[in-house]
């Protein structure tokens, strides 16, 4: 739009008198433009306040001790107790929170790396090779994207208990390795990032298919790999429902489930309030940092998912 050109002539044309609100002759363009700009940005600021308020509260509440938490104004700083809160968090119950954090890292980082590799290999094959029934197989993957994971969780739990893996690391890790959405994204990225000619050239040079994938295609797919990794990482870091079903042993809990367990007993043990607040903050920080640091990967994944 003509934001740069429009105000200039209007401003010079409008006599200073007309600026008074009482003036009958209102200047045509400049003030209206100014008002709409204020309205647009004002709405955006209001909504940003809404999205940022809970996180701001979380940060401030994390610095308070139990007494200040209930006695001081929510956005007012009390005594600064962040470090003693953190110390309590990591030492409570023989450092069970550290254990949960380590479990979450295991489930999310290791799980997502494997999941991404599996998805990229499959998506690459679905893009680059020709074989009968390929599109049917891909359609199958797309249907998989729409199968609600909560629907499969309960029967999966019963199957897992038959096999005897319930209440082990495997019970959470293995189900997170198959991501139909990851395969879909991988195919889209493979179409976009890996030119067929390069693969042909590598074949001419006598390279085997596995070597072509690991040495030629995978480096080209690096940005896509990162995007898929971030998606699977977030979804496994968020995973709560299936972990809730699969795990009984507190030692195996991811952070989510641990905070949930604290919430269940907070009524009886009010000192857990502080631990839940600081624990939530610590659980959120890695994701916020990952999000801020790796923005362009999120964005490309979002748009690839949206424009089908």
């Amino acid at each position: 739009m003509s934001t740069q050109t429009a105000p200039a002539p209007a401003e010079s044309a409008a006599p200073p008198v007309a600026r008074k609100p009482a003036g009958a002759a209102r200047p045509a363009r400049a003030p209206r433009q100014w008002t709409s700009k204020a309205v647009v940005n004002g709405l955006l600021v209001v909504f940003a306040a809404y999205t940022l308020m809970p996180l701001t509260w979380l940060v401030i509440a994390s610095t308070k001790n139990h007494r200040d938490l209930f006695r001081t104004n929510p956005f007012e700083l009390g005594d600064f107790n962040l470090f003693s809160n953190l110390q309590q968090l990591f030492t409570h119950d023989d450092g069970i929170y550290t254990r949960w954090l380590a479990n979450s890292v295991l489930y999310s980082v290791i799980g997502s790396l494997l999941c991404t590799l599996i998805s990229v290999a499959c998506g690459y094959a679905l893009d680059k090779y020709r074989f009968p029934g390929k599109e049917k197989l891909f359609g199958f993957v797309l249907v998989g994207v729409l199968v609600p994971s909560t629907v499969t969780a309960m029967p999966l739990y019963l199957l897992a208990s038959k096999v005897g893996v319930v209440n082990t690391y495997w019970a959470v890790l293995i189900p997170s390795l198959a991501s139909p959405f990851g395969v879909y994204l991988a195919r889209v990225f493979s179409e976009g990032y890996v030119p067929n000619e390069v693969l042909e050239a590598a074949r001419m040079d006598g390279a085997g298919e596995l070597k072509i994938f690991t040495k030629v295609a995978l480096p080209m797919l690096a940005p896509g790999f990162m995007t898929i990794f971030l998606f699977t990482f977030t979804s496994s870091w968020n995973n709560f429902y299936s972990a809730l079903m699969m795990l009984n042993d507190e030692e195996l809990y991811p952070v989510n489930l641990g905070i949930f367990a604290w919430q269940t007993s907070v009524m009886q043990q009010p000192e857990l309030y502080q631990l839940m607040i600081v624990g939530s903050l610590v659980a959120v920080i890695p994701l916020i940092l990952a999000f801020l640091g790796l923005q362009r990967f999120w964005r490309s994944g979002l748009t690839a998912g949206a424009v089908k």
Partner: protein, 313 residues
């Protein structure tokens, strides 16, 4: 090796195309095997197993000492689920939730995307980051934090409402659904706003310019030119939102401890969870899982069909 077979698909320069193609088929199978094996094990097998289980009932034999026995009951579990008031009510709750949540969420994200896209907006990058930020917070933690913010004595929100001379009980019988809607909206508005914004950015500049030349104002351009151009994205978002909504679990499951009136079977997923893990009625739980999948499938189908018709018109 020596026999060269002419194939229309492979270039003539390639030696022994058949061997090469076979090798490629092998490689393709190798690359796809891990995913499809896992997919079979963790998605297909559970669905098939749920189908099998839904046909039986576990019965305690004798005086309860002999363990359990499986009795084939046909469709009984399905009729029991379908006549269970709690199960039916849970769909009613989700329908009400969708009716309130979807227009608010889609409307706000679309509105924000148009605002950020408009030439008047400043600090576009900051706003995008701020709006998207909640999505980086795990759903369970988001629910925990919001429940704190709903708790009188802890919450700045209560102070604000009281400052306005009003009162609001977030855990009340009628208000609780709004508390759930707010948690979902907080998490998803920014996410969908980014998707819509990406769609708006892809609209060619000439189209917008042409509308302006024709005398359309910013508001009219937004509603009559921009929104129709990203409608397939909107339909897709609608689809994912509905599929997500009928799986709703985290927020109501946490909230129910404070808002008892919701009940442990408020959403279909909560019903399945309670049926399986509190009442140990796995047959009915399996049948309700399948019914939920069916509803999800039908809704996705319906939305896609509706979207296609909208696209054609």
């Amino acid at each position: 090796m020596a026999v060269i077979i002419k194939s229309p698909t492979s270039p003539p320069s390639q030696a022994a195309p058949r061997t090469a193609r076979r090798r490629q088929h092998g490689a393709a199978a190798l690359f796809m095997l891990p995913f499809f094996l896992l997919f079979l094990a963790v998605t297909i097998a559970p669905i098939v197993y749920a189908g099998w289980m839904s046909l039986f009932r576990e019965e305690t034999s004798g005086l309860g000492f002999g363990g359990t026995e499986r009795v084939f009951t046909g469709v009984e579990n399905f009729t029991r689920a379908l006549t269970d008031d709690l199960f039916l009510a849970s769909f009613g709750h989700i329908a009400l939730y969708c009716a309130l949540y979807i227009p608010i969420m889609i409307g706000t994200s679309l509105g924000l995307a148009l605002l950020v896209d408009s030439a008047l907006a400043r600090a576009k990058r900051f706003f995008q980051i701020a709006f998207y930020m909640p999505h980086a917070v795990p759903g369970l933690v988001a629910s925990v934090v919001w429940i704190f913010l709903y708790t009188p004595g802890l919450s700045p929100v209560h102070d604000l409402i009281e400052g306005l001379g009003a009162s609001w009980n977030f855990f009340g019988e009628d208000e609780a659904i709004w508390s759930i809607i707010n948690i979902s909206a907080w998490q998803w508005i920014g996410y969908n706003m980014i998707i819509f914004y990406a769609g708006l950015q892809a609209i060619p500049g000439e189209t917008i310019e042409a509308a302006r030349v024709d005398g359309a104002g910013a508001l009219r351009t937004a509603l009559q030119i921009k929104v129709p151009m990203i409608r397939s994205t909107v339909v897709l978002t609608l689809l994912f939102t509905i599929v997500g909504a009928i799986q709703l679990f985290d927020a109501p499951q946490l909230l129910v401890k404070y808002a008892n009136s919701l009940g442990a079977e408020w959403s279909p997923t909560m019903f399945i969870y309670a049926t399986a893990f509190q009442r140990h009625d796995y047959g009915v739980a399996a049948a309700s899982s399948l019914l939920l999948a069916l509803v999800a499938g039908l809704l996705s189908f319906g939305v896609t069909k509706l979207g296609n018709r909208w696209k054609e018109s």
